[in-house]
């Protein structure tokens, strides 16, 4: 058995042994270990390489602040890069590999960067890769990209699932250390609905890592007792393995709960759940993070934070070294020596900076072996425990506007300014650095919250402990040291980089951060920010608070994108809307296209058809020569009712609607207030007070939104009510010369002769012996056509009954492509033409716009750009050479003119192959287009490589008089 550094004690389960792999080597651990504690137990010191210089990196801390020990966890598709070994809970079969090296971890080829470090200082990218410009894309960027980043992604789809959840509580307590536990106990006993969340898999915080006594018992045991009491309270929810990563508005907190990360297999359960917690109050009890000091070669494996050394010794029963030296500027560091000696570990030297002793350099290529002190002394040590004081975890207190404030007595920033409303801070997070005071503060703060929320006083008394001494001196940087001294271990930022960037003029901390990359990536400055600030202050001759602080933003620690996505991926990324005839279409060879979340049939392939064009041409011909049917349910339908319904619609549409008779349909043009065309459709008047408006598929939701705005905000006293009925009616377009014959078989007792039911008529009726329906005689194809609507639940039966009834007429289903061909043949505008820059004049509807009423868009119809003489106008285009297939997006030029903007005449918006005409046709916008029918122009498309001659014609390629639809 290995685990040569395992010692007695700790909160691990020694009755069970777990096997795990690091760099393909099998090792053992116990439940309760982290990957970091297990590696240390197995005397693995070198675990990774640094970002820039590829320096050897070991384990630096014991928590989520870890900057160095980043590994790739798991294998295959589940591989996760940049995972902090200090937060990975051990499980059977765990597999991790080191990252950021070429070749093996021990012999990293890119370690040569370390020798090049004089050239790789702050801002070297910006200075080095400036010129020649042509080198950037082909040479510099690929090289930088391949060298950048730490871990590598698997390149495969994430096999895990993630979920979202919502929780409500009176008070959310962030952190289950001494302050958080004391607060939870008081709040829970007072009857508040409490959520207690902690990022660790074991609650208790520093109580698990120290040797303090609380209420006369071992601190870790006291924590266990409190957790047991909280666990049986119905009003308390304990959430371990849960990081509260962000404080959002109005008491909302984001939390990530790791559900199965500690298991070998997630077993089809969500791996992580992203919670949104709604709270009335929040108690921030997030503790503090220890920081290092900057001294020569302070980045070697074996150099660790002193508090973390205590964590490994006390909580995990692991000796991070066998000859440990302590370097400190405060009393907390001395406690380390005490704890180590209690475990029988050799403490080779206590170096107290307050007494003038400092470390100036270290030695040991892949792990520390010697420490050099000032005045020429040296010490043998395989581990150096460093304590530069503690920084309160103020992060969530500054997620809104709070700017942390400096406190000289603890040489640290504490929460300050405007905290998120409802948040109070307790314990070390508030700068209360000793145990007894922390416990008392947690209790007191929670009691106050309870009183605030109307729960009369807690029955509990504050837990008691003795207060240790905490005295710290603001010593940050060993200036005697001539060697490189690291500030940010993750991003390889040294004291020299900071002083250099200051010299180069980066005076603001925010600039410093971005220029040097200090505090970037997963660590986010948790261990490095304060040190960087102190060195900056030193360079500028200012105090730390004068130099500034950086404000923290969410997330507190990294959150996987998958967790934010939750279930919204793949087919669940957004809803799938199926038309009522979907199943029938599927059975009949339809292929589908997505339109506004709808799946619409684009064509129905028949055996023997070689390409989509064969199907589309056949569908168009069959419709124009016989009868076709198309599901048009997706068009928006808005039911408009009320005594003022006509007046309301008249204010919405640009054309007149007030006098539309009952039983009639009218085309309506909808503008934006700036005069641009917004949407179009038909509106039918079913009765004096009842209209049905249709919109384009894409704008169905937006038009209803705008109509509600007009109804509630602009004309609030009109008696009118709106509801979307898009999904309520299955609607089919039946088009072609034989459509009357078909519809006459479908409707019950209704005379469909041209006299009785003319073009633009509408009525309610029944079909197939009693099914309620609405019939409209409208045409998008330009043929004699009807639209028939039945309640959506009859949609499937309707299409099957229609097809049966139409068999003798050879009724042909057609899809959106044939629909598109026919509307281009007919010269109807659609999305390609109504692109948000089109006004009514451009599409030939200028005269339709009313000049006798107010409506949305009425005031700004005549802006200079809209009335210019050479304005763009809708035209039809056909190729001179009839074999040419036209290209949408081509621009028009007069022959002989250069192809530039000054000579640009307009562009092609839509193209189609017209089976009726036997050649390609197009629609387009052309300057003074209506006066130029018959003119020949170049249609030039450099993107598609096309340059052809076209003839300008009417946009109505077929039946310009409209006889067919009126027939």
């Amino acid at each position: 058995m290995s685990q040569s550094n395992r010692i007695d004690g700790g909160q691990i389960d020694r009755s069970r042994t777990l096997k795990f792999q690091f760099n393909e080597r099998w090792l053992t651990a116990h439940p309760g270990d982290t990957l970091a504690s297990a590696l240390l137990a197995n005397a693995v010191r070198l675990v990774g390489r640094s970002f820039k210089y590829h320096r050897p990196r070991g384990i630096f801390s014991a928590g989520s602040e870890e900057p160095s020990a980043l590994v790739q966890l798991r294998k295959g598709a589940a591989l996760e890069p940049n995972t902090r070994a200090t937060t990975i809970e051990m499980f059977e079969g765990l597999s991790a590999t080191s990252q950021n090296h070429r070749g093996s971890l021990e012999h990293d080829i890119l370690a040569v960067n370390d020798l090049l470090s004089p050239f790789l200082s702050a801002g070297f990218y910006y200075k080095t890769f400036m010129w020649p410009k042509a080198f950037w894309e082909k040479l510099y960027e690929p090289i930088i990209r391949s060298a950048a980043g730490l871990g590598k992604l698997s390149g495969m789809e994430d096999p895990d699932t993630y979920d979202h959840g919502y929780l409500h509580c009176d008070v959310v307590i962030i952190g289950a250390g001494p302050a958080g536990l004391a607060a939870a106990l008081a709040a829970g006993r007072a009857g508040l609905r409490v959520i207690l969340a902690d990022e660790d898999f074991r609650m208790g915080g520093r109580l698990n890592a120290e040797t303090y006594a609380v209420d006369g018992m071992d601190g870790a045991d006291w924590a266990l007792g409190v957790i047991a009491e909280l666990a049986i309270m119905n009003n308390v929810r304990l959430m371990k393995r849960t990081t509260i990563y962000g404080a959002y508005d109005h008491g909302i907190f984001g939390a990530l709960e790791r559900m199965t990360d500690h298991l070998p297999d997630s077993g089809d359960k969500p791996r992580q759940v992203l919670w949104r917690i709604y709270s009335k109050r929040a108690i921030l009890a997030a503790g503090a993070t220890e920081r290092s000091m900057a001294f020569g070669n302070n980045d070697r494996p074996g150099i660790m934070l002193a508090g973390s050394v205590r964590t490994y010794v006390n909580r995990f029963g692991v000796a991070p070294g066998r000859k440990i030296a302590v370097f400190t500027n405060n009393d907390d560091g001395l406690k380390t020596a005490e704890d180590l000696r209690a475990k029988g570990i050799d403490v080779t030297r206590i170096i107290d900076a307050r007494e003038g002793d400092v470390v100036v350099n270290t030695n040991g290529r892949k792990g520390l072996n010697t420490i050099f002190l000032n005045r020429g002394r040296h010490v043998e040590a395989d581990c150096l425990a460093v304590s530069g004081g503690w920084s309160p975890n103020v992060h969530l207190s500054s997620h809104h506007r709070g700017r942390p404030e400096w406190r000289d007595d603890i040489a640290a920033f504490v929460p300050g300014g405007e905290l998120p409303p409802g948040m109070v801070v307790a314990g070390a997070a508030a700068g209360t650095m000793t145990l007894a005071a922390t416990l008392a503060e947690g209790h007191e703060v929670a009691t106050r919250v309870a009183t605030d929320l109307g729960k009369s006083g807690s029955l509990a008394t504050a837990p008691r402990a003795s207060d240790e001494i905490f005295a710290t001196a603001p010593i940050w940087h060993v200036k005697e040291s001539k060697h490189r001294a690291w500030v940010d271990l993750q991003n390889d930022v040294t004291t020299k980089d900071i002083t250099q960037s200051y010299r180069e003029g980066f005076r603001s901390v925010e600039h410093l951060k971005r220029y040097t990359t200090l505090g970037m990536a997963t660590e986010q400055g948790k261990t490095s920010n304060m040190l960087g600030l102190a060195v900056m202050a030193d360079a500028s001759g200012k105090t730390i608070p004068e130099t500034g602080t950086t404000i923290f933003r969410p997330p507190y620690s990294p959150v996987a994108i998958g967790a934010f996505a939750g279930r919204a991926r793949g087919k669940n990324f957004r809803p799938t809307r199926r038309t009522p005839s979907h199943n029938w279409a599927n059975e009949n060879g339809a292929s589908f296209v997505e339109a506004g979340m709808w799946k619409r049939a684009e064509w129905y392939a028949r055996p023997g058809e070689k390409s989509w064009r064969d199907s589309v041409d056949r569908e168009v011909k069959a419709t124009r020569n016989g009868v076709g049917i198309c599901d048009v349910t997706t068009l928006g339908k808005i039911d408009i009712q009320g005594h003022d319904a006509a007046e309301f619609i008249n204010k919405i549409y640009a054309n007149a609607f007030l006098k539309l008779p009952t039983g009639k349909v009218r085309y309506g043009l909808m503008l934006r207030e700036d005069g641009t065309v917004y949407d179009d459709g038909t509106t039918a008047r079913l009765s004096e007070t009842h209209f049905v408006m249709t919109t384009t598929t894409a704008n169905a939701v937006l038009v209803l939104r705008n109509l509600e705005f007009a109804r509630q905000c602009l004309w609030p006293d009109l008696d009118v009510h709106l509801i979307s009925t898009t999904d309520a009616w299955a609607q089919f377009s039946v088009a072609g010369p034989k459509s009357r014959a078909l519809m006459q078989k479908v409707v019950d007792d209704l005379d469909l002769s041209n006299e009785a039911f003319p073009f633009m008529a509408c009525t309610t009726c029944t079909v197939f012996g009693g099914t309620p329906a609405r019939l409209f005689r409208i045409s998008f194809s330009g043929e004699l056509a009807y639209e028939i609507a039945v309640p959506a639940r009859y949609g499937d039966a309707m299409i099957r009954a229609m097809m049966a009834a139409g068999e003798e007429l050879d009724l042909t289903p057609y899809g959106t492509e044939a629909l598109g061909v026919m509307r281009i043949e007919k010269g109807h505008v659609a999305g390609n033409e109504l692109n948000g820059q089109t006004d009514a004049r451009m599409i030939g509807l200028g005269n339709m716009v009313s000049r006798k009423k107010d409506f949305i868009g009425a005031a700004l119809l005549d802006r200079p750009e809209q009335v210019r003489e050479d304005g763009l106008q809708l035209v039809g285009l056909r190729p001179i050479d009839q074999d040419v297939i036209l290209t949408a997006g081509a621009h028009f030029f007069v022959e002989g003119d250069p192809e530039d903007m000054a000579h640009d005449q307009g562009w092609m918006t839509s193209v189609a192959y017209s089976p009726e005409l036997g050649h390609s046709i197009g629609l387009g916008f052309l300057k003074r287009g209506r006066d130029r029918h018959g003119e020949r122009l170049r249609a030039f498309s450099p993107i598609r490589g096309q340059d052809v001659m076209v003839e300008v014609c009417s946009p109505h390629h077929i039946d310009p008089e409209g006889d067919r639809q009126r027939g």
């Binding site: 008491g251 909302i252 905000c713 005031a859």
Partner: protein
């Protein structure tokens, strides 16, 4: 954010669609002589204060009420929520 809907109580902001400055309620007359200038300002000029702002929110994933929400753009504190219809009537809008 949480918006206290006058009819439905506290609702998550995710249920709403944001439009912007509530001055859009004050639509000038669009028909008549010399209406362009006023409409131009209405369409293109918006209040965008750092501080208290009256803004329009639409409860699209709810009852489709338009609301006037008074929100501090610096702190996101919401000091009042009214039905836009009530505000519009108070400003003299009718038919």
């Amino acid at each position: 954010m949480i918006i206290k809907h006058p009819l439905l109580g506290p609702r998550d902001a995710a249920e709403f669609v944001y439009l912007g400055d509530a001055n859009m309620i004050k639509r000038p007359e669009g028909f008549g002589e010399n209406v362009e200038e006023a409409m131009y300002e209405h369409v293109y000029l918006r209040e965008n204060p750092a501080g208290e702002h009256h803004e329009l929110w639409y409860h699209e994933q709810g009852d489709r009420s338009w609301l006037v929400v008074t929100r501090n753009t610096l702190t996101h504190e919401i000091s009042s929520v009214e039905l836009a219809r009530d505000v519009a009537r108070r400003k003299g809008r009718s038919k």
